[in-house]
């Protein structure tokens, strides 16, 4: 099974096959493209062909994780006393663009119940179509299409048993010091937000969901940057990875020896055919291939 995750202009991949002792990673790596376009089957073909040159596909089953820039995000309030379909219907009447539904698919995911809010994710139909068409040409099938940090959350939950925790944070360290974070409490999404790190400060860029909690976490990251943090109190555990192919930022976080921070990298818990020692910092971008482990007890 092949997981393909896009982050910026790079495509990362991880291929695994079943074995007696669990999933066996038979290949992983990354490729950089001048333009990571998923909007035509030809461009997806090109990506898959490049990966196929690196790994042998036992089973043509694919999972795709796209960069968040490929989708649009918004929220909708969903008071319990009102049918959410009515709210969404009302909202569409207020702000509908007649072309939008022709070109986009909109998904509404619930935040934690107490927030009474939906996270809306809008994805171009052309991307889904091209992925499906392309994988068919390889006589394969696509099982999942997700978005970067949400796929990494799968890695935390299925590979690191994060679902057993009361609360956890997934921290995606990104290019240009712009990070994305998810906060999960009681197995429900509290917040999805992004921040910009400077040497000793953190600035919130965008918050979807629980604003207070996001501000609390951002405050703790700021404390960390100033060297004043011993561990995160806003969640039981923080899973951190670096989405670009650099690794100094994530290494610094891990080497700070904070009480409850874990490097998120599926290779840490999987058997691999890879010869030699694996640098878990350098390969933490593979966290975003985590969607391929859905439903598995890794």
């Amino acid at each position: 099974m092949l997981a393909i995750s896009q982050a910026y202009n790079a495509v990362n991949f991880l291929h695994w096959t079943p074995s007696e002792s669990g999933p066996l990673v038979t290949g992983f790596g990354n490729l950089t493209f001048s333009d990571c376009d998923f909007s035509t089957a030809a461009s997806v073909n090109q990506i898959i062909a490049a990966i196929k040159a690196k790994v042998t596909l036992d089973l043509p089953v694919f999972a795709f994780s796209l960069d968040a820039s490929k989708a649009f995000f918004s929220t909708t309030p969903a008071p319990k006393i009102v049918d959410p379909a009515d709210i969404l219907s009302w909202q569409i009447n207020q702000s509908q663009d007649e072309k939008f539904q022709e070109v986009m698919d909109s998904y509404h995911f619930p935040f934690a119940t107490d927030l009474e809010m939906f996270l809306n994710i809008h994805i171009p139909k052309a991307i889904k179509k091209s992925i499906i068409e392309s994988t068919r040409q390889y006589k394969g099938e696509v099982r999942f299409v997700s978005i970067g940090i949400f796929s990494a959350e799968n890695c935390a939950r299925y590979c690191f048993k994060a679902g057993a925790l009361n609360s956890y944070i997934v921290w995606r360290m990104g290019k240009y010091n712009i990070d994305q974070l998810l906060i999960i409490e009681d197995n429900a999404l509290q917040a999805y937000f992004s921040v910009r790190r400077s040497p000793d400060a953190v600035k919130l860029i965008e918050i979807y969901g629980n604003k207070e909690l996001a501000e609390e976490v951002a405050g703790e990251i700021e404390k960390y940057l100033r060297g004043d943090l011993t561990g995160f109190s806003s969640a039981e555990r923080v899973f951190v990875y670096q989405a670009d192919h650099k690794y100094l930022d994530v290494r610094k976080v891990i080497e700070a020896a904070l009480d409850n921070v874990t490097l998120l990298n599926p290779l840490k818990v999987l058997h691999s055919e890879h010869p030699g020692k694996i640098n878990y910092y350098k390969t933490s971008y593979l966290a975003e291939t985590g969607l391929i482990f859905r439903g598995l007890d890794v």
Partner: protein, 246 residues
């Protein structure tokens, strides 16, 4: 926590989504031979765990019935205004907006810009939502600005900016000096009618022109509307109306 899968039926998704969609031979089929095991409450480990379990690869296929409601909505992001902000003069505010918008990244396109005696409005479009997010943060830092980001036609994301302004001024009775500034700027197709001037201009000329008009004071007249709007051929149409009763 839901498993985000954008392959399924659009619409409202359940809190817990563990759904596999198979797209092969143009018809969905279950993922045979896989099931999902219950998770055990084992302690969290950073290292490689032991591997003594029976073959694990079982993924229980649950095709959840999803209530299909094809609704699009755009959520609002209403900017929170900082409690204490340094008070700026109207001229400073307008100048700062012009300065920020005059230095947009290549990924952001101006679609409409309007200055009236009460409000400044700007619509910006981009395919990169993060760019617009950062721009709105920057503007919010500077001004009492309200930003709203929404999805729009042709995949784009729209950032709408509105800034309430107030000033008292006299009416402009002669637009000749305004026309001269436009001519000096090299604008083409300048048309004058009463106290209204329209012209065609290039994207890169918009903000230098507005800055010149600002410095000359031609923005602050009662009944004065200045509007730049992108035309069908992607050129900008400028309307300077010193007699507006809107």
């Amino acid at each position: 926590m839901f498993d985000l899968n954008l392959l399924g039926k659009p619409g409202i998704q359940p809190q817990v989504v563990q759904t596999t969609y198979s797209f092969i031979e143009q018809k969905p089929k279950p993922a045979a031979g896989f099931h999902r095991e219950e998770y055990t409450e084992e302690p969290l480990e950073d290292g490689r765990p032991g591997r003594s379990r029976a073959p694990f690869l079982i993924l229980l296929l649950i095709l959840l019935v999803m209530a299909g409601v094809y609704f699009f909505n755009t959520g609002r992001r209403q900017a929170a205004l900082p409690a204490a902000r340094e008070s700026l003069s109207v001229q400073d505010e307008v100048s700062q907006v012009i300065s920020v918008l005059g230095n947009l990244s290549d990924k952001v396109y101006l679609q409409r810009f309007l200055i009236t005696p009460e409000i400044i409005l700007a619509n910006l479009r981009s395919d990169d939502q993060i760019e617009l997010n950062m721009l709105s943060v920057e503007l919010e830092d500077l001004l009492k600005v309200q930003c709203r980001i929404s999805g729009s036609k042709e995949f784009g994301v729209l950032l709408s900016i509105s800034i309430p302004i107030e000033y008292e001024s006299q009416e402009l009775n002669d637009t000749t000096p305004v026309k001269k500034i436009m001519e000096k700027q090299g604008l083409s197709d300048i048309r004058e009618s009463g106290l209204t001037i329209s012209a065609t201009l290039r994207n890169e000329d918009i903000f230098p022109l507005l800055q010149n008009m600002l410095e000359a004071g031609f923005i602050y007249y009662k009944k004065c509307w200045i509007e730049c709007r992108v035309d069908q051929d992607c050129s900008f149409q400028l309307l300077y109306d010193a007699s507006s009763t809107k």
